[in-house]
């Protein structure tokens, strides 16, 4: 690129303006990236949901419990490979700020339905044989500096307010690094022994593993038909649909994020576009000279676009670097309130692509006007 010296020289012509523009670009990109990771965190449940899993809940709502005896009836439906059930425990560890999801799991079948959660065999066997046992996700254990063998007291908020004590028998990991490693599992049998009688022998929801994802519609229909006209009618849907429904409980996050993201996008366009417009206006005479000595109209457009893209590239790299530093800290501060915020490589690439897109679009208008400018008119303005 023979004109690179001219492009860079023009870029650094007004250093304060460049710093301010790149700075505003970087800050806007941090905000944009933060919104993107929040959106991704809310959607992660949907993204990682198994295509071959169904979730069965009480038709009235998630707060209504179902008899645990449903498990065998569901298992008898053709196409069902395995069934397990969960409960929401809803306890507090030391302080209410220390929120993390606690699930009451069915030890016998949980492993078959969720093969993506990896627990060493010896740890799982210890958990299965220990009524007061529990398993924690790797991130959760890291957060509270737990290690296998620790005694963990959790005060229940739903089942009488007592403190329940658990032995940490194992730590699970996920195959994917962005998988959910923040859960806490306790045994259903221990739970069932200690809850009020009205809760006994119940399940919060069932998770059904299918022989094939192609059976999803048929099996879901069969399950709901089986329990139709019973005291606990069911609503069965795919795990991804359930996760999407669950995410919506927080409100229309998607719309909120898209709205703020659009405002950020247009603000950036205006900031960079304004900078480029001023920069081109200041240099009309010089652009006229370039055209006079034989630089083509297209090359003039290219020069302006290259400059705008360079500004957005520098702003983008700075913004994404800041985001890489800041987002883990923000994620830590928001633990419990939001799912973990992860800035993945595809998201970084998306951020840089977004920055370059803004650069090119913002340079288009001043670039086209520079391209169309008549040389004689430009030279008159020297």
């Amino acid at each position: 690129m023979k004109f690179r010296r001219l492009i860079f020289a023009n870029l650094f012509r007004k250093k304060i303006r460049l710093i301010l523009t790149v700075g505003s670009f970087a800050i806007a990109l941090v905000l944009f990236t933060f919104l993107a990771v929040v959106r991704s965190a809310f959607n992660r449940g949907v993204e990682i949901a198994g295509a071959d899993r169904l979730v069965v809940v009480d038709r009235v709502g998630l707060m209504n419990l179902m008899p645990v005896s449903y498990a065998d009836k569901i298992r008898a439906i053709p196409g069902v490979k395995a069934v397990t059930h969960d409960h929401w425990f809803g306890g507090v560890y030391q302080d209410e700020k220390n929120f993390f999801p606690q699930f009451v799991v069915d030890v016998e079948n949980h492993h078959q339905v969720y093969p993506e959660f990896k627990v060493p065999d010896d740890q799982w066997n210890n958990f299965a044989n220990d009524r007061q046992g529990c398993i924690a996700g790797a991130k959760l254990a890291e957060r509270f500096h737990w290690k296998v063998g620790d005694r963990i007291p959790i005060k229940t908020t739903l089942y009488g307010g007592a403190v329940w004590e658990f032995n940490l028998d194992g730590i699970y990991h996920t195959e994917k690094p962005d998988g959910d490693q923040g859960q806490f599992w306790l045994q259903w049998k221990y739970f069932d022994e200690n809850v009020p009688s009205v809760i006994k022998s119940t399940a919060g929801w069932y998770i059904v593993k299918l022989d094939s994802p192609d059976d999803a519609v048929r099996v879901a229909k069969a399950i709901d038909e089986k329990f139709a006209n019973s005291p606990h009618e069911t609503k069965t849907e795919t795990e991804s649909a359930f996760a999407g429904y669950f995410a919506k409980q927080f409100g229309n996050i998607q719309l909120l994020i898209m709205t703020i993201g659009s405002v950020v996008f247009f603000t950036l366009l205006l900031v960079t576009g304004n900078t480029m417009a001023i920069s081109v206006r200041e240099r009309i005479g010089e652009l006229g000279v370039l055209k006079a000595i034989g630089v083509s109209d297209r090359s003039v457009l290219f020069l302006v676009l290259a400059e705008a893209s360079a500004i957005s590239f520098f702003g983008g790299v700075l913004g994404l670097s800041l985001a890489l530093v800041m987002i883990p800290g923000i994620s830590g501060a928001l633990t419990g309130m939001l799912p973990p915020l992860l800035l993945s490589k595809p998201m970084l690439a998306l951020g840089l692509g977004f920055a370059l897109l803004v650069g090119v679009i913002s340079g288009l208008l001043p670039g086209i006007s520079a391209m169309r400018m008549r040389v004689v008119n430009a030279l008159r303005r020297v």
Binding site: A9, G285, V289, S296
Partner: protein, 248 residues
């Protein structure tokens, strides 16, 4: 040989026939050039004079392919430029025309070397060949030792020398100078004119120059006056008469 009667049969380097240029201003049509004829041979040095608004710069713009005429033709070295498309005209300018402006028009963020190199970036010359050309051009104008200076670090006369180096670096067919000494003191103006004379005398360049200054115009081979949109030869400003008047 410079002629303005349109009767030259020779193959002039620059041949202008029936050139018209009309501007519209506020609904009113202003005819700046009216059927202008001109023949300029290779190695000629011609000065255009005339009152403000007489169309001197318009003529220079038309000859340099920066503007298009309302009617008439301009042929340079066998190429008729008046019907060229915008992009062809741009390429033509890069190959055939060297511009020297009154206000120098250097790019302030580039050094003298980089400014002079600009026209060569449009060619297929290698980096080392470009360097040779640039160094030669800067030597011709006497600024080889200032090649890494920025325009703000040079005097007006030196800036104009860099402009001249930029104009000659690609060895164009002819040079167009629009008031090349208009922004300089007399001493610097003399130096610049000596340099332009050297380009004509020593290097055989063809130069067409617009000026208000009769002393500067007198250094050209011929001075043409623009009156009512046409060129008039000689008219009270031959080299001898101006010099004689100046000495009186």
């Amino acid at each position: 040989m410079i002629r303005v009667d349109g009767r030259s049969d020779s193959q002039s380097l620059i041949r202008v026939r029936g050139l018209n240029k009309t501007y519209s201003r506020g609904g009113e049509k202003i005819q700046v050039l009216q059927g202008l004829n001109l023949d300029v041979d290779k190695g000629d040095f011609v000065a255009f004079m005339g009152p403000s608004g007489s169309g001197k710069t318009t003529l220079l713009n038309l000859l340099g392919g920066l503007d298009v005429p309302s009617a008439g033709s301009i042929t340079v070295d066998g190429d008729e430029i008046t019907h060229m498309s915008g992009s062809k005209l741009t390429h033509w300018r890069a190959r055939h025309v060297g511009f020297i402006f009154q206000m120098y028009n250097l790019i302030p963020v580039l050094t003298a070397y980089q400014n002079v190199e600009l026209p060569l970036l449009l060619t297929k010359l290698s980096g080392s060949d470009r360097r040779k050309h640039v160094e030669t051009a800067l030597s011709v104008v006497g600024l080889a030792d200032r090649m890494h200076h920025y325009p703000r670090q040079l005097s007006g006369g030196q800036e104009q020398r860099v402009t001249i180096a930029r104009a000659i670096v690609s060895d164009p067919t002819f040079l167009l100078c629009d008031e090349p000494t208009g922004d300089l003191d007399r001493k610097s103006a003399d130096e610049i004119m000596a340099l332009i004379e050297e380009l004509v005398g020593k290097y055989g360049k063809t130069v067409l120059m617009v000026t208000h200054d009769p002393v500067v115009a007198a250094r050209a081979h011929t001075t043409l006056h623009l009156e009512k949109g046409v060129l008039v030869e000689g008219k009270a400003s031959s080299r001898e008469s101006v010099l004689a008047g100046g000495a009186a």
